[in-house]
């Protein structure tokens, strides 16, 4: 049903006048270093009842264009060109008139549902305020309308929820409230800036469904700003691809995603990790593979090809789709279908009692029986972590064999990061044991643990906070080496240079400060620091989740390369099944503090036995409109 609806809606839309039209819109900023252009000559239009996706990576100017529509840019911005809302010019419009339009005619949804609502007022009050302000409704009428709106956005027990405070709601519910506020005055245009980026995939699917539904039912035009090609495929009718402040491609969603005309669109699509693609001859291919670094065949694995030492790794080399990674179009919509991934599951799918990764109490001992000489790099047994009586982690057992990459998958709040912190010796579990490279570190004092820290290290998700802003990156990388008295003086300097080069950064960048680096470069520095002591185990806590897709692709490639060369074991924590499939040989799926399923990656992803794993697989959007529609129908 939705198929035909969307089809006809789109065809009709072609004749309808666009409600929002941007022509040659340019935004610049005056800065201390002179004027900076954010966007140049951006033009697109949106018709009622249509979803237009504006896609691009950070710095592409996609958000700036949207903010300029609402006059929300800082005073240092200069906007030229034209943007009309139902024929009315927005550029240069007096603030007073803009204020009347905002919320009424054109509304906005932001990325962060956590901070977009005021924590000291109830949801009902905040919704009611919008209605009283713009519609002049009475208190009672506003409350009644607020209840309707909450029902419209699918919040159960709406009347009761009106009196809830934001902190009493989940992230998804808060985003629903934000959407309710945005549509409260029946705006003609809804600008949604990464509305689902901060949400878990399963929640994301629901919010996208809601937006699509509102768009059809209320005839609102939606401008969706996103970096996620999967989201685009799921909801958009038409797409505008932006890069460096310019529109590089525009067109119908199916055409752009399946037959991109611009090279950049193609690279973007190729960079999206895609479930069901064969793993790039993955590290630690089979579960039994417990080879240590020395034994590992390492034909001086090729550096990430061209421009590797360039200071700006965001620039995607055309070689993104390198051998081993399938071409964008080739990877079929059958993401997560048994056939596709199966060739990869070389290990027999003995799921439950699988070696190496074990479900609670499922014989972790026996699992490592064939690895007699080398102790597992990491062995977590019956790990329990409680915060103020709340069990964040319940009896989790994970084993990572030497030189092996094991994925730990889960959504936010599943306790996966807590497990990672325990494994890294940064947090003490309430009960259970943590053994790293044969040493029980569970109860060691900080002093006793310190020398053992040579064997394991951690990389964090947020590139912005994982480096000390007051230290040069050279100092940051050198620190573990100094702390463990591995080298000093000229030797230390050489080692830092070597490490920087090993993560494809120039050695002379060691004098830079973190803020002078891009997110991807900072993450490379974090990896270099973590690998400085050649640890046996690396705990990677969502190391690429905060990066743009093309940057993520580069960093993941680097990671695979380093892992193969250095042979460290890795506990790879992620919410992204496609990334996990690409990197890991075994995977454990966590939910609400428990491991619900584990086993060889290929087998788990191909034939998930737990319904939660299936839900996760189904919710992760893929950049294919037809596949997304099929899933949507399956859900409904």
């Amino acid at each position: 049903m939705s198929t035909t609806a969307s089809g006809t809606a789109h065809e009709e839309a072609a004749e309808v006048e666009p409600v929002l039209r941007l022509t040659d819109l340019s935004v610049g900023f005056r800065t201390e270093d002179g004027p900076v252009r954010a966007t140049t000559g951006v033009g697109f239009d949106v018709r009622p009842g249509e979803v237009l996706a504006v896609v691009g990576e950070s710095g592409s100017g996609k958000s700036v264009s949207a903010m300029s529509l609402l006059g929300l840019l800082p005073p240092s911005a200069t906007v030229t060109g034209s943007a009309t809302l139902a024929g009315e010019e927005l550029v240069g419009m007096p603030e007073r008139r803009l204020r009347a339009l905002r919320g009424n005619e054109i509304a906005m949804i932001f990325q962060e549902p956590m901070t977009s609502l005021n924590p000291v007022f109830t949801v009902g009050w905040q919704l009611g305020e919008v209605l009283r302000e713009h519609r002049g409704l009475s208190r009672a009428a506003a409350r009644e309308r607020s209840r309707e709106l909450l029902e419209l956005v699918g919040i159960p027990e709406a009347a009761r929820r009106l009196d809830s405070y934001p902190h009493q709601m989940s992230g998804g519910q808060r985003q629903r409230v934000m959407i309710a506020m945005a549509v409260a005055c029946d705006p003609r245009v809804l600008v949604a800036d990464e509305p689902t980026t901060a949400l878990d995939v399963t929640v994301q699917a629901e919010i996208l469904d809601l937006l699509r539904d509102l768009c059809r039912r209320l005839g609102t035009a939606i401008v969706l700003i996103t970096h996620d090609m999967g989201v685009v495929a799921d909801i958009a009718d038409r797409v505008v691809v932006m890069r460096d402040g310019q529109v590089v491609e525009r067109g119908d969603v199916r055409q752009v995603l399946t037959a991109p005309r611009h090279e950049y669109t193609a690279t973007l699509l190729a960079a999206v990790p895609h479930l069901g693609r064969p793993r790039s001859d993955g590290p630690g291919a089979a579960g039994a593979d417990t080879a240590t670094g020395a034994e590992r065949p390492s034909p001086a694995a090729p550096e990430p090809a061209s421009g590797g030492t360039e200071p700006s790794p965001q620039v995607v080399e055309p070689g993104v789709a390198e051998p081993g990674v399938a071409e964008p179009g080739v990877a079929e919509p059958g993401a997560g279908e048994p056939e596709v991934a199966h060739e990869d599951a070389a290990t027999p799918p003995t799921r439950r009692g699988a070696p190496v990764v074990t479900t609670p109490r499922a014989g972790g001992r026996a699992a490592t029986a064939d690895v007699v000489d080398v102790p597992p790099a990491l062995e977590l047994r019956d790990l329990v972590v409680e915060y103020h009586q709340v069990r964040a982690v319940r009896e989790v057992s994970v084993t990572v064999g030497a030189g092996e990459v094991v994925g730990l998958v889960g959504e936010s709040g599943s306790g996966k990061s807590t497990v990672g912190r325990c494994a890294a010796g940064l947090q003490r579990p309430t009960s259970g044991t943590v053994r790293v490279a044969g040493h029980d570190i569970t109860a060691l004092s900080a002093r006793r643990l310190r020398p053992l820290r040579r064997d394991f290290s951690i990389v964090f998700q947020d590139p912005a906070s994982s480096l000390n802003p007051r230290m040069t990156i050279g100092e940051s990388i050198a620190e573990p080496l100094r702390m463990h008295r591995v080298s000093r003086g000229a030797g230390l300097r050489d080692r830092v240079a070597e490490l920087l080069e090993s993560v494809s950064l120039r050695a002379d960048m060691h004098v830079r400060y973190p803020h002078e680096l891009s997110g991807g470069q900072r993450q490379r520095v974090s990896i270099a620091r973590a690998l400085a002591l050649e640890p046996k185990l690396l705990i990677a806590d969502e190391p690429t989740s905060a990066l743009d897709v093309s940057v993520q692709a580069n960093v993941l490639r680097l990671f695979v390369d380093l892992q193969r060369r250095l042979g460290f074991a890795c506990l790879f924590i992620s919410h992204d099944l496609a990334v996990v499939e690409m990197l890991t040989s075994h995977v454990a799926v966590m939910r609400r503090g428990e491991i619900v399923e584990s086993g060889p990656t290929g087998a788990v992803l191909a034939e998930p036995s737990h319904e939660y794993t299936r839900a996760l697989l189904a919710a992760a959007p893929v950049p294919d409109p037809d596949e997304q529609r099929r899933r949507r129908e399956a859900r409904a």
Binding site: R453, S466, N468, T472
Partner: protein, 297 residues
């Protein structure tokens, strides 16, 4: 470079540290307000240090023929109620005031910074003790505390500095503890721990440099407060002993003559204002200059 504070001289740090300092200096030089502060502070310090050379007369020389004279060619800033040369007294007074102001804050920083860091980092054992102590001290008004301490220690310039310094300790502890609590959650602290850094490195190499903004604000507020505190102590006879002048003593002894001889209060007052302004401007300038991110407002 040879005096690099970081134990074991950071590798790439040696060069980086130097260029960092050079960059900081360059940034300070580009900041007009900061430069005005720096020049003023240097001038004030020079004036205080060279007071014996600059002063036209002995600040203690009494002349009962020239009581409370207006500023003139003979006495540029006039004379006080004992006929002493006001300019000479301002110069020597500045000496005592700067001595107390800078020494007190230095003392407070040296005591409070480690305590604040420890309280913020060792939440279980150190924090309760230090925080209760801080709360107790904060229960007394700053001056009451200083006066009480000075009374116990006995009247002298050094004791005044100690008393004022100690009474500034709780504020700085509070600020440092807060900063430590905030920064301890940063990923780079965890990364440093994971890299095998011991607590000293964590506290003094990671947390302290990142709390420099908050600390500098405390210092720039603290120095003028200490100068005024010294004035009060001296007024009560707990600070400098007559006939040694200090700006505070001059200000307070000028009070009864405010209507007849306003210049007696005006000049020491102006110098106190100048000193306060100078340290504030310099502090702001330093804060911006020390931030590797450079100019951000």
């Amino acid at each position: 470079m040879t005096t690099d504070v970081h134990a074991g001289t950071p590798t790439s740090g040696a060069g980086a540290g130097r260029s960092q300092r050079r960059r900081a200096l360059r940034r300070l030089r580009r900041n007009p307000a900061g430069m005005v502060g720096l020049v003023l502070v240097v001038l004030l310090v020079l004036a205080a240090a060279l007071a014996p050379l600059l002063a036209p007369a002995d600040p203690a020389a009494v002349d009962f023929d020239r009581l409370r004279e207006q500023p003139s060619a003979a006495a540029w800033l006039g004379t006080d109620e004992f006929g002493r040369d006001q300019l000479s007294r301002v110069l020597f007074g500045l000496r005592s005031s700067l001595f107390v102001g800078v020494l007190a804050v230095l003392l407070a920083v040296v005591v409070a910074v480690p305590l604040g860091l420890a309280a913020g980092y060792y939440r279980r054992f150190v924090d309760p003790v230090v925080s209760r102590l801080t709360d107790t001290m904060l229960a007394f008004p700053f001056l009451v505390l200083a006066v009480g301490l000075a009374a116990i220690l006995g009247p002298s310039l050094l004791n005044a500095a100690i008393a004022i310094g100690v009474s500034q300790v709780p504020n700085i502890i509070r600020v440092m503890r807060g900063e430590t609590l905030r920064l301890a959650n940063e990923n780079y602290i965890d990364a440093a721990v994971a890299g095998g850094a011991h607590d000293g490195v964590i506290l003094f190499r990671h947390i302290l440099p990142n709390s420099v903004n908050a600390l500098l604000i405390q210092v720039t507020v603290g120095i003028p407060a200490a100068i005024l505190g010294e004035a009060v102590l001296s007024f009560l006879g707990l600070g400098v002993q007559p006939p040694t002048p200090s700006l505070g003593v001059m200000l307070s002894s000028a009070q009864p003559f405010f209507a007849q001889a306003p210049w007696l209060a005006l000049f020491p007052g102006l110098v106190i204002v100048a000193a306060t302004l100078a340290f504030n401007l310099l502090g702001d300038g330093l804060r911006d200059a020390l931030d590797p991110k450079g100019h951000r407002r």
